[in-house]
């Protein structure tokens, strides 16, 4: 219970001001395209340079917490995720907003972020030593299988057609191979100098989501009346709280997967939301609602994103191994203040007060994130009312500025615009941006870890280097999960197709059909009907069954 001893350090006027300011600014920055959590923390590190260590870390921690949640605002309101972590939120969140439920969507988002976030910080406080050991268990081959696991969800994540989904994913993987590869020490597919730095994940994300949105708004400006949606809100804040807490399954899957992904070293943190979304979808009763505005999707994705924050610091603080790209930047923020990660960091006289104050501040940051977030959702309705022409050009200019600030690079801006314009036309043919971004994220993880694993395996086992990939508890577990994921994907794909066919054949059954016809049809889809009831009630029974 050491963490209780240092709470008083957080409760100074200066630190509370930093927390509130940092959280507020973080939510706003997170909502802007390009200013992902990683970028925001990176830009802020020089600011903390002249602060006291604990003050600087409190500001960075508040920033990390708030930007992760803030990225959901733009995902929900304008369908442009602020960071890769918020892609899953956009899929259902924006659909809800389109139905005039933007305020509810934001409520769910911040409440579930808060639940996940607090869960994650408590994992950090109580389970650091065993989880740090577990984190080291995730080596080269394990990371490779995790990337493959991510790739298995590509085909079904956001596309009605498996062929198009896979194709988009593979094109994303291909985009990721452009540029320098440090493991191979070569430059590949650099047709022009602009491509030398490759396609940065966030640059790709902005292009693939923001540009199609801009072009859409321009294209439909005259032909489609921009529907002024009621953003009054249909349910009270209390109802939102009750609703979120009634979705225990989505919340717990999200928080658990987020925490697990957080302790795995490397870039995996960016897929926490998508993996949690996919898993929740797979165990959900109303699968067909996903992608059409299902609140469970938002809850799972956002609780996963924020629960990742705390655990991503576990390997960082104890082993100097970051659990997410943002944690990697945060490492610089620690070193700059002379705080060196290590097992003693929680007990050593010099570092313990700073680190525990920092962790305590993370709890408060979650609370402020909730309060400020809910406050902002009250007033976010006006964004939905911005006229389309203003909206289009604002997204465009912000996308350009955000892209430039990632690497101070004009080439990135060109890549962003070109990719996005192609995506706009590709979406007309039914392609989706989500698998492409997933491919860009997972490509390097899969390739680099495969190459390293092959090198290490080759050194250990010679020509039988494959052994290195197929032995070890975690490897075997991951392979089983991969196979299960593919099998289940195929199974549910067939099941939903079958259901569709049944629904179609059901349409042929009308009141004109006899009771015998209905009974016959009921048997083929697995329900026994009682012929003594009226025809109407039998039809209703069938209808209800098919809906399930």
């Amino acid at each position: 219970m050491e963490f209780l001893d240092y709470f008083s350090n957080v409760f100074t006027v200066y630190h509370i001001a930093l927390l509130v300011g940092g959280t507020f600014a973080g939510i706003i920055l997170g909502a802007l395209p390009g200013l992902s959590p990683t970028m925001s923390v990176a830009l802020l590190i020089p600011f903390t340079f002249h602060m006291k260590p604990e003050s600087g870390l409190i500001l960075l921690g508040a920033m990390y917490t708030a930007t992760v949640a803030g990225g959901a605002i733009s995902a929900i309101l304008v369908n442009v995720p602020g960071a890769p972590a918020n892609i899953a939120t956009a899929m259902d969140g924006h659909q809800m907003a389109k139905k005039g439920l933007s305020r509810e969507a934001l409520h769910y988002c911040f409440i579930s972020s808060f639940v996940g976030g607090i869960f994650g910080v408590f994992i950090l406080i109580f389970f650091t030593p065993p989880l740090a050991r577990l984190s080291l268990e995730f080596g080269t081959t394990e990371l490779f299988w995790i990337a493959i696991l991510g790739i298995t969800i590509i085909a079904t994540i956001d596309s009605k057609s498996v062929v198009k989904g896979l194709l988009s994913g593979l094109l994303g993987l291909m985009l990721a191979t452009i540029g320098d590869n440090p493991v191979l020490g070569v430059e590949r597919f650099v047709f022009t100098d602009h491509l030398e730095g490759g396609v940065n994940i966030v640059v790709g994300l902005i292009g693939l989501f923001a540009m199609p949105q801009v072009l859409n708004l321009m294209e439909k400006y005259y032909s489609e009346k921009s529907a002024v949606l009621s953003t009054e809100g249909h349910s009270s804040l209390m109802q939102s709280f009750r609703f979120v807490f009634s979705k225990v399954k989505a919340l717990s899957i999200g928080s658990f997967i987020g925490s697990l992904v957080g302790i795995i070293p490397g870039a995996g943190g960016q897929i926490a939301g998508l993996v949690a979304y996919d898993q929740t979808k797979k165990v959900s009763k109303n699968q067909s609602n996903y992608g059409k505005g299902e609140p469970e999707g938002i809850i799972a994705a956002e609780s996963a994103n924020n629960s990742m924050v705390g655990p991503s610091l576990i390997p960082l603080l104890t082993l100097s191994i970051p659990g997410s790209p943002t944690a990697a930047v945060l490492l610089g923020g620690l070193l700059i203040h002379g705080i060196f990660p290590g097992h003693e960091i929680f007990v050593s006289e010099n570092t313990a007060p700073v680190v525990w104050t920092f962790i305590d501040s993370l709890i408060l940051a979650q609370i402020f994130m909730l309060i400020i977030g809910l406050f902002l959702s009250r007033h976010s309705g006006w964004i939905m009312k911005v006229p389309d022409n203003y909206m289009a050009v604002s997204i465009l200019v912000l996308a350009v500025f955000g892209t430039y600030s990632i690497g101070n690079s004009y080439s990135d801006v060109i890549i962003m615009v070109v990719l996005g314009t192609i995506m706009f036309f590709a979406s007309k043919a039914g392609f989706s941006a989500v698998p492409v971004v997933l491919g860009i994220i997972l490509g390097p993880i899969a390739e680099n870890n495969f190459l390293l694993g092959k090198l290490i395996g080759g050194a250990r086992y010679g020509d039988d280097w494959m052994i290195y990939f197929t032995t070890g508890t975690i490897n075997v577990t991951l392979i089983v999960i991969c196979i299960a994921s593919i099998t289940y994907g195929l199974y549910s794909n067939r099941k939903s197709k079958k259901k569709k066919d049944e629904a179609k054949s059901f349409d042929n059954l009308t009141n004109r059909s006899s009771k015998d016809d209905l009974e016959e049809h009921g048997r083929t889809i697995g329900i026994e009907l009682d012929k003594r009831k009226s025809k109407k009630s039998l039809l209703k029974e069938l209808k209800d069954f098919v809906k399930k």
Binding site: L167, L184, V186, V214, V397, S405, A429
Partner: protein
């Protein structure tokens, strides 16, 4: 099969051919240290793209979407001009002009009543937007954006 699916099927098929060729020939490999493994992954991916490109020929899609090029083209033109000009005249000036141009070109009929008044209002909105950008990026985040001729 809608038109876009047709076009994209053709493009993807062509792309798959190019990628397969590139990753096997290593013709664009600028490194003198080329090893066989350098293009191992791209080969797998290119192979997958090729297979899927063939499958795409049999893909059915009854929902046809069309593009309203008349309304899209001015926007695309402006974006191109914006991209080309921002490096020479500076990000802020280019953005302000872009903002103003888009809201002037894309406007609903009811906005044209009092031309000069609308012009003035839109000009000031563009200026305020650019000012906010300046405060956010240059003052707060200290991002150095290309100033070009004017800064």
């Amino acid at each position: 099969m809608n038109q876009y699916l047709k076009i994209s099927t053709l493009i993807v098929t062509a792309l798959a051919a190019v990628l397969l060729f590139t990753s096997f020939q290593e013709v664009f490999n600028p490194s003198p240290w080329g090893e066989n493994e350098d293009y191992l992954f791209p080969r797998f991916i290119a192979g997958g793209i090729a297979v899927l490109a063939l499958l795409l020929w049999f893909e059915r899609d009854d929902k046809g979407k069309s593009t309203n090029f008349m309304d899209l083209l001015p926007g695309l033109g402006l974006i191109l001009a914006y991209l080309i000009s921002m490096n020479t005249i500076g990000f802020y000036v280019a953005s302000m002009i872009m903002f103003f141009a888009v809201i002037m070109i894309y406007k609903k009929p009811e906005e044209t009543k009092d031309f000069w008044r609308v012009l003035l209002i839109k000009l000031s909105i563009s200026a305020v937007f650019t000012l906010i950008l300046y405060c956010l990026f240059t003052l707060m985040l200290q991002v150095r954006l290309p100033g070009g001729l004017f800064f």
